[in-house]
Symmetry: C2
Subunit: 217 residues, 2 copies
């Protein structure tokens, strides 16, 4: 049985591993968990002792199979709770991250199973992230970033890579909601900002920074 803290490290290692090549570094973990590198090192030794990560001093870290299974279990809980908060309690998609961050640590298999059933076995959370299966598989989506699309492409907004309140509220103000169909009118040569034509709406400018955090297909 893992502690609250250990669970957060596993989740963070998983998250960072999907966003970069190779091993996850101590400093990256320190930044994400808002602790100091020395503290991370201590925890890595502990997780390695428990066989949840592969760890060689100075060489970064990688989840073991068991570690990944646990990480996906926590991510599954997090995303199911987010669906609950938005679908059932009426929270905005920009308000649920921190609450789900706490709910995900409630330990009960039965609870997660029943919640999943209650929600109708959702495939995606309110940010378009796929919900891992009960068996611990992360569904493949095949989405790419909006920043990688070209002029003329007609695409659908499927997810976001950034979950901060500020970012999500910005999308709300731009009328960019998940599932909406957009066409890329133009990509600015200077700052790579994207002019998108939203289905039944007026065109909006999306900065390159924002485009890199939007998932489409």
């Amino acid at each position: 049985m893992q502690s609250f803290t250990e669970e957060n490290y596993l989740k963070t290692i998983y998250y960072l591993a999907t966003r970069q090549e190779g091993e996850v570094t101590t400093n990256a973990l320190a930044e994400m968990t808002a602790t100091r590198a020395a503290s991370v090192t201590d925890m890595l030794r502990k997780l390695a002792d428990k066989q949840l990560i592969h760890y060689k001093k100075y060489q970064g870290v990688r989840l073991t199979e068991e570690g990944e299974r646990l990480a996906l279990q926590i991510i599954r809980r997090h995303r199911l709770w987010e669906v609950f908060l938005v679908e059932k309690l009426g929270f905005g998609w920009d308000e649920v991250h921190d609450i789900a961050e706490e709910l995900e640590h409630v330990r009960s298999e039965e609870l997660v199973t029943r919640l999943d059933t209650y929600l109708g076995y959702p495939q995606f959370d309110p940010h378009g992230d796929p919900i891992p299966t009960p068996a611990g598989q992360m569904p493949e989506t095949g989405y790419r970033k909006l920043s990688e699309a070209g002029p003329g492409d007609s695409i659908r907004l499927m997810g976001v890579l950034e979950h901060s309140t500020a970012f999500l509220q910005h999308l709300d103000r731009c009328n960019l909601t998940l599932g909406c169909l957009v066409t890329i009118a133009e990509i600015n040569a200077f700052d790579k900002s994207v002019l998108v034509q939203i289905e039944s709406g007026r065109p909006v400018f999306v900065s390159h920074e924002v485009a890199k955090n939007l998932l489409v297909n």
Copy 2:
């Protein structure tokens, strides 16, 4: 902001204070929290420093107004989550205590408010316990124990004082459900066990130990 542990102490002090006269003792707290008396003493000093309890060495303990407000807030959360688990997720009333014990510590006013609305502002939890108001008042019920009723009394089963799985499953097996109307047929002079006639059912024997944990009106 209180820690998980502090919240549990406050809740336990409240619970014990309602079940006995005068101050709550160190030993009683140690037993309830499954820790040693020495650990309780340490925590009491800490809670006293924070002005959440009145505490004089060797003299037992009592919640301050602020301490009681916090205790009731936690109990409110606990009971609302129990309603959710039973009403929405379909858990049995004997399965929800431990899960609610974890959910009650999730820190979000907004979450509790929305949950309350979602559940339709319930007045009682699945065990018949009244749900404290948002303002921090514990509703009065005026229930008495079944063990205090007399032969011939016609009463309604309104709540339980014991939340263990074993106890609740025993009630299920006896067909004693909350809200059911019973008549006291006889009280055994030797062991004080109670023979109750359940509305539209066969009579059942209830031991004095059980009768002391049933609330009626």
